[in-house]
């Protein structure tokens, strides 16, 4: 266990920050767990590979094209398969359909790539800087972009959700779609905007992750489960805490990996921490509130009258 391990773990976990932000946005908006959404990252990463490596597109064009395509695909998927469930408030049916969509995407991508792992050749990041203590590692462009996402994207998104008119409309639709419509908010437009943004964020995560670790059809499957776990444990309405939680989880996982004998528990420890998070959020917090309420009442009753 060392500072190097912890810092390295925290840094690498930032790759999931855009995805967890996108997931939380969509989860709060739709009132269900969009398990399929991280797979937009898989598709975007494969599209980036196709554009850059097979079609010979320019690197920047490939990445932007894949990002936009990821967003558009997310919107299309939502409109075709999930919008009805969201309108009818059927979170369990939507979740099940999301599982099915994830599996279909994973298998279709697997079939199309014959299951082979792929790696970017022309898009492989060439820029790098050797970093000394405490990281003792080589930083590449995707590392910096994902760090930037944590530093800029998370606060910016939090601000826009909580302190802008568009954010107000988003919260209104997320809270009660029919009431929001009655107050003149165009819920369909908010739907499109939110899902496009959320899918693009997931696409961003997928592309960054693929640039660093290569492409496999299952590349977002394990991360997706962690993202869901964070969203459930922390609550999808807490964007900043979700982003921090996913990074902390990465740190804990890497600390575990560095200990011989405990490395196999790497993923298990992350989930254990999340179970504690769920208990704290959904069991202990309400208990604490109830207790605080009771105590407050008693104190109020004890106050001398007059």
């Amino acid at each position: 266990m060392s500072v190097e391990t912890l810092v390295g773990g925290l840094l690498r976990a930032t790759y999931f920050v855009p995805a967890v932000l996108g997931f939380c946005l969509a989860a709060r908006h739709g009132g269900y767990l969009p398990l399929w959404l991280p797979q937009c990252g898989t598709i975007a990463a494969y599209l980036a590979y196709y554009f850059a490596e097979r079609s010979g597109w320019n690197g920047a064009c490939s990445l932007v094209g894949a990002l936009i395509a990821g967003g558009v695909l997310g919107v299309a998927c939502h409109r075709l398969l999930f919008a009805g469930h969201v309108a009818r408030r059927e979170p369990y049916a939507a979740l099940l359909r999301g599982v099915a969509v994830s599996l279909v995407i994973e298998n279709v991508v697997g079939l199309m790539s014959s299951g082979y792992a792929l790696a970017f050749e022309t898009l492989r990041p060439t820029w790098q800087v050797v970093c000394g203590w405490p990281l003792n590692d080589t930083l590449r462009l995707p590392d910096l972009v994902s760090l930037g996402a944590l530093a800029v994207l998370a606060p910016a998104l939090w601000l826009s959700v909580n302190h802008t008119r568009l954010g107000l409309a988003y919260r209104a639709v997320a809270s009660d779609r029919d009431l929001a419509r009655e107050h003149g908010i165009n819920a369909d437009r908010i739907d499109t905007l939110v899902i496009f943004g959320a899918s693009s964020l997931c696409a961003c995560s997928g592309i960054l992750y693929a640039l660093r670790y290569g492409l496999t059809p299952q590349m977002m499957t394990t991360p997706a489960l962690k993202i869901v776990a964070v969203a459930v444990a922390v609550g999808p309405d807490r964007l900043l805490i979700s982003a921090t939680a996913v990074v902390m989880m990465g740190g804990i996982e890497r600390l575990c990996q560095g200990i011989p004998g405990a490395a196999g528990l790497e993923h298990g420890v992350g989930y254990t921490v999340l179970i504690i998070g769920v208990m704290a959020n959904y069991v202990l917090r309400p208990l604490w509130r109830r207790w605080a309420l009771v105590m407050g009442k008693e104190r109020f009753n004890e106050r001398p009258v007059g």
């Binding site: 014959s114 790696a119 670790y213 600390l255 560095g258």
Partner: protein, 376 residues
Amino acid sequence: MNIKRQPLYALLATILFVGAACRQQHPGAVAVGALVPLSGPNMSYGTACRQAYEIARDDAKHLGRAELNVIYGDSLMEVGPTLRQYQDLKRKVVAFVEVAGSGPALAVSVEAGKDRIPILSAIASSPKLTAGGGDYFFRVIPSDEHSAPALSDWAFEAGLKRAVMVFNQQNAWATGFKEAAVTAYRQRGGLLPDDAVIGVTRDTLDFSAAIAALKRKNPDVWFVGLQGAQAGLFVSQALDKGVTQPFLGVDNFDEQEFVDAAGRAKTQVRFVLPAVARSESAQRFAAEFRARFNREPGGLAFRAYDAYMVLVSAIEAVQKAGLPLDGAHLQAALRQIRTEGLTGSIEFDSNNDLKRAAYTLWTYTPDGKMIPAPQR
């Protein structure tokens, strides 16, 4: 989905499945099974085998040799699904040209021994299969019991006396390789303590913590018990963290996915393969593979081709002798096999493992070409 359309979709799916099944039938061909992963995270193994069999079938046809009808079962390279698929196929085939994965092969070989169905494998290299594979399990891949000592010999002769190891603890091949390598290296006097061996999981893609922990041991050499892209990512990340020592492996480095993922770190690997690993016929096969599938064949494709041809030879031997084509006669024929494959001469010892004389140490050039490694 409109509920009225559902029967239509079901009918369409059924037609597709039946069509696919009918396409597999070759009249007059001998039915053999292949339990390989056709989906899931290990799918690339199944794809490589299927592609190699396709070329082998065409070559056999061109040479007027026996034709095999390969019936596939999706094993996912896991014990449970492999056993289920074996039970489904065992009455339809005379032998299995592949049971992918050391763990599944160990489990199936017990059943195959009882059912008297020969199994060949181009993937399972665990030393446990030498004794545990039984009389009906053959393999065209050298056991790690032979390759790990060859690797340790090289390391020790090169003065690399302090080692560390990383391996996938959820993979039967990797655990077998770990045991074989640790035993061989320690027997030669090398220092490889238990706390210098770190196990990771099959989902691990970032190894920064394991590399940092192992780097603190100041090793002369790193044993890598990971496969394919995962092995490539490990050596690439180790290089990023300033590791300059060589990485040692066996056939796990002989895969295109490894080369793609390793990037410039591939020149730092050393791995042992049988001395005659790339014959002229192997080069012809590689050219055909590239032309058909638009990618470089990995080591598995060569071995899968060899497994197919070995089975063809055994079937022909039984047919020529006028004996009934059953498991017992096929097993006896396989034991008599002496042939030149793409990966060198193929002959089985008393444990049905490959008889191998010498190993060569290999590495990669910066452009990904496999070359004999310079001796230190």
